[in-house]
């Protein structure tokens, strides 16, 4: 992949709160147009990092550049181009959705007529036009979250930062929300996503960074992380007739295959570094079995995450 320009870049970014290191010499690069996931348990420094990117908290040390500006010195320029949806985004309950967004437009210095247009557009985009003139008090959690997206769209940002965007949403709303993120990506927005809900992050992120105690422990695509942490990047599932056991040894001998596990009489689980379905299919047929099912799965971020933190914990003790 040709490296594009970094829209977010931090160098040795550090934040110390009352002697406690919240973010420890963080080096982060997020490129134009990608969806980057900041992963980590609560208290691993994700929100602090975000606040430093926006100039809302002073870094203790290190440097930051967001859309080409240092948020410490030019916070207004940064905030004019970066939309932020905080954890549990809040609105003025007594005002309507429309009024809330108009306030945002005014704070951004958008002229009145243009503001009307943008607010209507943004509300339509997230599918809230129907309830535009209802007080936000009556909105569900999912609607508020979508209003949060409409809110950042008002300023037509280059970068959108979301903190725990799907937390507390029911599965249906969460799925809808992830669709919104995908659409935003298609429109060329750069998105930084902080979350601890892994399967959701996995579904939308191009790259993820794993945070652990204020440090970026790992970074890469989910596939790369799988290889690094689990030593495996693909799981191939094979179902054959009549019996699968005799295939274990031949499959182990294939290139890139690391291990083969027997799930039951007819099903095998092949761990490999590549997608080896064609080779597995050939081998099955060569050994006189009938192939019933062949599937590939990527290791879930959950596996990687759990494995990583277990190892990290064992390393400490």
């Amino acid at each position: 992949m040709a490296k594009k320009d970094a829209v977010i870049e931090t160098r040795d970014l550090t934040k110390v709160y009352n002697g406690l290191v919240a973010v420890d010499r963080l080096n982060l690069r997020v490129y134009e147009g990608e969806v980057y996931g900041l992963l980590g348990p609560n208290g691993s420094g994700k929100t602090t990092t975000i606040l430093m990117l926006l100039g809302l908290t002073e870094p203790t040390a290190g440097s930051v550049q967001v859309v080409g500006w240092d948020p410490r010195r030019y916070p207004l320029r940064v905030k004019a181009q970066v939309g932020y949806i905080p954890d549990r985004v809040g609105f003025y309950d007594d005002l309507t959705a429309w009024e809330n967004l108009m306030y945002t437009a005014k704070l951004n210095g958008i002229p009145r007529r243009e503001a009307y247009r943008r607010v209507d557009e943004a509300l339509a985009w997230v599918g809230l036009s129907e309830v535009a003139h209802r007080p936000v008090r009556t909105f569900s959690r999912g609607m508020r979250q979508r209003l949060g997206v409409a809110d950042v769209l008002i300023k037509r940002p280059r970068v959108i930062i979301m903190d725990e965007p799907t937390q507390g949403l029911d599965p249906e709303s969460a799925r809808e929300f992830l669709d919104l993120i995908r659409t935003l990506k298609k429109e060329g927005k750069t998105i930084l996503l902080a979350s601890h809900l892994l399967h959701q992050v996995q579904a939308v992120c191009d790259r993820v960074g794993l945070f652990h105690k204020g440090k970026k422990a790992l970074e890469g695509t989910v596939e790369e992380l799988g290889r690094e942490v689990l030593g495996t990047s693909h799981y191939v599932i094979v179902e054959v007739e009549p019996d699968a056991r005799h295939l274990v040894e031949p499959l182990r001998g294939l290139k890139y295959v690391q291990d083969v596990e027997v799930l039951d009489d007819r099903t095998l689980w092949v761990k490999s570094l590549r997608d080896v379905r064609p080779e597995v299919a050939t081998a099955v047929v060569q050994h006189g079995s009938r192939l019933l099912r062949l599937d590939v799965e990527l290791p879930s971020l959950d596996d990687i995450y759990t494995h990583y933190f277990q190892t990290a914990a064992e390393g400490v003790s």
Partner: protein, 326 residues
């Protein structure tokens, strides 16, 4: 691990970006909120009731003292009603506290603070905007009440106000807004300090009660400690009285009460202790011109404005240092 201290950086861009957007939004909130509607109704009813009863009292004596009838509308009390200014002394702090006690903490509690501060504005604009909106709202409320009183006065008394009376009423309006400003700044400070709006409201009201109820007693006893009367010399009596007055004036309510007296009763020549020899040659009962009365309240007015600014500055510093995340 060694962490190099980040050098302080000069921030670029005006701290007032977005200020008027905040002011407009907050004023709209104030003017449409139920809380303010209740207080506005309360003060309007008070004004109508007291002015109506004052007008009927004035009419019966108007032929004897035809001067400054409109100012008397504010000050004359007829049983069972106290005068309007008696009410102002506690309605103004109440309105001021109601305007600001949840200014900042409600933004935290509604989770709107981080979202608003991530817009291209500085924190300065948010706090300043809230404060200015409060002052403007007070100005609007009191100006409306003043006009109501003058209107009622014209109907009840049948004469138009003189320029002098209008001038005095305008100065009173300014003083009232800043008397409110002091209490609003107190409430704003507590709204930054305390996360619960109820705590901030109670703390503000407690402070106000302290100054209205207890401060007078404390000032008296402190004055007798600082300048005790040992043998009863006139110098000793005078020194104690001066101390007492000076201490009492720490309370904003005292300053405001003195302003009311000087502005609404033009014949008042001094707000301090006057000795008999100082009155030699004075024609008692003659009213002072407006400019002289203003000179009289000038220290009081600057005192109120200064207190407002100092308290606001404290709130400001506290707010700047606060972390955005709850």
């Amino acid at each position: 691990m060694t962490v190099a201290r980040a050098t302080r950086v000069q921030r670029e861009g005006s701290p007032w970006t977005g200020l008027w957007a905040v002011v407009a939004k907050e004023m709209a909130d104030h003017l449409s909120s139920t809380r303010m509607h209740i207080l506005e109704a309360l003060i309007a009813l008070t004004a109508i009731g007291t002015v109506y009863s004052a007008a009927s009292a004035i009419r019966s004596v108007a032929s004897l003292e035809p001067k400054f009838l409109f100012l008397k509308l504010f000050t004359v009390a007829q049983e069972p009603f106290p005068s309007f200014v008696d009410f102002l002394g506690f309605l103004v702090p109440l309105i001021a506290i109601a305007l600001a006690f949840d200014a900042v903490n409600s933004e935290f509690n509604q989770h709107t603070l981080a979202r608003v501060l991530s817009q291209p504005i500085y924190r300065d604009a948010l706090l300043m905007g809230k404060f200015l909106a409060g002052l403007f709202t007070q100005f609007v409320i009191y100006a409306a009440i003043w006009l109501l009183i003058f209107g009622l006065g014209v109907i009840q008394l049948g004469v138009p106000p003189t320029g002098e009376e209008v001038g005095r009423a305008l100065w009173l309006l300014v003083a009232t807004v800043f008397y409110g400003g002091v209490w609003m700044a107190v409430a704003l400070l507590f709204s930054v300090r305390f996360r619960q709006p109820a705590t901030a409201a109670l703390a503000s009201i407690a402070l106000w009660l302290f100054f209205t109820v207890f401060w007078g007693m404390i000032a008296t006893s402190m004055a007798s400690l600082i300048a005790p009367i040992r043998v009863g010399l006139p110098e000793e009596l005078l020194a104690q009285a001066r101390w007492q007055l000076a201490l009492r004036r720490v309370a904003p309510g005292q300053l405001y009460a003195e302003i009311l007296v000087a502005l609404l009763r033009p014949e008042v020549r001094s707000l301090s202790i006057v000795l008999p020899f100082q009155l030699e040659g004075a024609i008692l009962g003659q009213p002072l011109p407006l400019s002289q009365s203003v000179l009289l309240i000038w220290p009081h007015l600057t005192g109120l404005i200064a207190a407002t600014l100092v308290l606001f500055a404290l709130a400001y510093i506290l707010f700047q240092r606060q972390e955005v995340r709850a």
